[in-house]
């Protein structure tokens, strides 16, 4: 059974703005019967290009209907420029979240909105850009790249949940992995090419990295970290705040702190916790 929020259930059982706008200014159609979900979005604008009314028709599961309903509620009263900024994440957030397997429903909402706006502006129907990667669902490399970038997706499974690619015969999994790898590679800050660091340079760089990158991240969870000493390549630290009592602290230390320092300072560093 899917874990739907009450808001999803509400928008599914009592969808808002269902129907057709006969004299719509913009219409966006996405999906198909074969894919298992489809949405047609109708926009009516006032003279200032503000969305006066929005209606939809959706074929699909509960989260597809709820996402469509949510979208129409979100965009009413917005200018087209404001509406354009809505992301699939916003739609999911509006509903209090969607099961990750259902994120593609929110992506469908965003796509329909984009199409309706292009339709109003008289822009030619966007040709399928890029190269089809997933033959089963007709998803291109550009669509996958965008989903990976905008939602920080890391696995093939994530990609399937967001844009369906790879959810059929699975023969495109290798290509999807390549896209993910390329995208992760791009986002990774360039490694500083530090070949010979003096001890002082090294300590300084570690301190800087802790202050700039690591401490703010730990503080989000109520934790903190303090540099005690640097002994050769051994970085000795103390964990503070919630980190000190967190059972996952060793994981934080190895998987986060150490890998960050290795990435940004020197690849041979080892992080160790010392007793207070």
């Amino acid at each position: 059974m899917w874990e739907y929020t009450n808001k999803v259930k509400d928008h599914f059982l009592n969808p808002r703005n269902v129907g057709v706008i006969e004299d719509a200014d913009g219409i966006g159609e996405v999906g198909s019967l074969a894919c298992g979900d489809a949405l047609t979005l109708y926009l009516k604008l006032d003279k200032n290009e503000r969305i006066k009314d929005a209606k939809f028709q959706t074929f699909g599961c509960a989260s597809a209907i709820a996402s469509s309903s949510a979208l129409t509620e979100m965009i009413k009263g917005l200018t087209l420029e404001e509406a354009k900024k809505i992301t699939n994440e916003n739609i999911a957030d509006f509903l209090g979240g969607l099961p990750k397997e259902k994120m593609h429903c929110s992506v469908m909402g965003r796509d329909a909105l984009e199409k309706a706006i292009s339709n109003y502006r008289g822009e030619a129907e966007k040709k399928v850009e890029g190269e089809i990667v997933c033959e089963c669902f007709g998803i291109t490399d550009l669509e996958i790249e965008r989903a990976v970038r905008e939602n920080a997706l890391k696995t093939i499974e994530d990609v399937t949940h967001y844009v369906k690619a790879g959810g059929g015969c699975e023969s495109c999994h290798e290509k999807i992995q390549e896209i993910i790898d390329a995208s992760l590679g791009k986002e990774r800050p360039e490694k500083k090419k530090v070949i010979h660091l003096t001890n002082i340079q090294k300590i300084k760089l570690i301190e800087e990295t802790l202050a700039r990158e690591i401490k703010p991240a730990l503080k989000k969870d109520g934790g903190d970290i303090e540099l005690v000493d640097v002994d050769g390549n051994n970085v000795l630290v103390k964990l503070r705040g919630t980190c000190a009592t967190c059972s996952a602290s060793q994981i934080t230390l190895k998987h986060y702190v150490e890998s960050k320092l290795r990435e940004l300072v020197a690849p041979e560093l080892l992080v160790e916790e010392v007793e207070s």
Partner: protein, 387 residues
């Protein structure tokens, strides 16, 4: 809210008589059936009784019954026994509509040195028998065909298939999880070598199953351990559940004809009334050769998960072959193998009844379902276009 449970191919209610028979074996008669003392020996007698009851439901002998932990274990045991007992043979034949317990096992074997032939079905879910027989070869180790399909309810001609497979000297296994207790069977007069069944599909408990292995069939255990089940399945017996399964088998055997004529009547009423009241509706599967309790109904231009969740609001429990309910993105492999068009596959709902369903419940579904479909169709962008 009352629960109207019409999802009995997923699992069934444990009959009160079954539960009653099981309960003393948790904390009153908790002996180990393998023990030498009388306290344990009495438990062993109850297990023997359960074995006899199951054998009698199947038309088999008690020593041909091995208790397992579930239908999947029975299937896995049968497949491995056949494969390991025929080491030179590298070909397996099965159908395209098997349960994942079979399908995924064969997909695994097909990546590990075996050639697996998946026999197709037609639009009504009937097996292509010519294709099956044409593909039997000298290196075929095993033919494994389900007795009845869990989604469409279509019953395969196991008697005929097993006979022809036997003539070629090939082992025949059937996953009869959905068929046992719903339709009569007499294995003594048939050529089935191995058969899997599961307790919780016939009003027994979950966590117990059985494998029938015909006397003389080459066998290798899957669970290797103690001498339980005469060395054919190691591990201390799940005593209470085995006793429960035995009782469930006894009840099923005693009421096979009367229960299922009543169930069939209710199923037919549900199906006919829905067809009458909802347009663009198709029954998936061969209506003449089906389990008496199952109907798979395709509502065109709507999506199954939405139907299920709206029915859920009324306490009606059914299941769907749609993509969205399975966690995958494609509709059920059974409906796709049958060539059900996408317009219908996504909107397929399976109702599977039991002896505990009443006419009032069926009337309630007949009252609530048509407006749900109508509402969802009003929401659908495709509905107006086709109208």
């Amino acid at each position: 809210m009352n629960v109207i449970y019409v999802d009995n191919n997923a699992t069934t209610q444990v009959s009160p008589e079954v539960l009653e028979e099981m309960l003393p074996y948790f904390n009153e008669f908790y002996g180990n059936p393998s023990s030498m003392h009388t306290f344990g020996g009495k438990v062993e007698q109850k297990i023997t009784e359960a074995r006899t009851r199951i054998a009698s439901l199947l038309g088999a002998s008690p020593e041909e019954i091995i208790f397992t932990s579930c239908g999947t274990e029975s299937d896995s045991t049968a497949i491995r026994a056949a494969v390991l007992s025929n080491p030179g043979k590298k070909h397996i034949l099965t159908s395209r509509v098997e349960h994942p317990a079979i399908k995924n096992h064969y997909e695994y074997l097909s990546k590990n040195g075996y050639r697996v032939t998946f026999v197709p079905v037609d639009r009504k879910g009937r097996l292509d028998l010519d294709y099956l027989y044409d593909n039997l070869g000298d290196d075929t180790a095993l033919v494994s065909i389900m007795w009845a399909n869990n989604e469409s309810g279509v019953i395969f001609p196991i008697e005929e298939i097993s006979k022809i497979v036997r003539e070629k000297g090939i082992v025949f296994h059937t996953d009869a999880v959905q068929a046992v207790g719903k339709i009569p069977m007499d294995l003594n007069t048939m050529a089935v070598d191995m058969l899997s069944l599961s307790g919780h599909k016939l009003h027994g408990p979950k966590g117990v199953g059985a494998l029938y292995v015909r006397r003389g069939t080459k066998y290798t255990p899957f669970m290797i351990g103690g001498h339980q089940e005469r060395g054919r399945r190691g591990g201390t017996e799940n005593v209470a559940s085995i006793i429960g399964l035995g009782k469930a088998a006894e009840l099923a055997a005693a009421h096979l004809s009367d229960n299922y004529s009543q169930v069939k009547q209710l199923r037919d009423k549900l199906e006919n009334e829905i067809l009458k009241h909802v347009s663009n509706t198709i029954i998936n599967g061969d209506r003449d050769h089906r389990l008496p309790n199952t109907t798979s109904i395709a509502f065109e231009y709507v999506e199954g998960e939405s139907i299920l969740l709206m029915m859920d609001e009324f306490g009606i429990c059914a299941s769907s072959g749609s993509a969205c309910t399975s966690g995958s993105l494609e509709p059920s492999h059974v409906l796709r193998a049958m060539g059900v068009p996408f317009t219908a596959a996504h909107g397929s709902v399976r109702f599977s009844l039991s002896k505990y369903n009443t006419e009032e419940e069926i009337d309630f579904i007949i009252e609530k379902l048509p407006p749900i479909i109508e509402r969802l169709r009003e929401l659908s962008p495709f509905w107006k276009k086709i109208k």
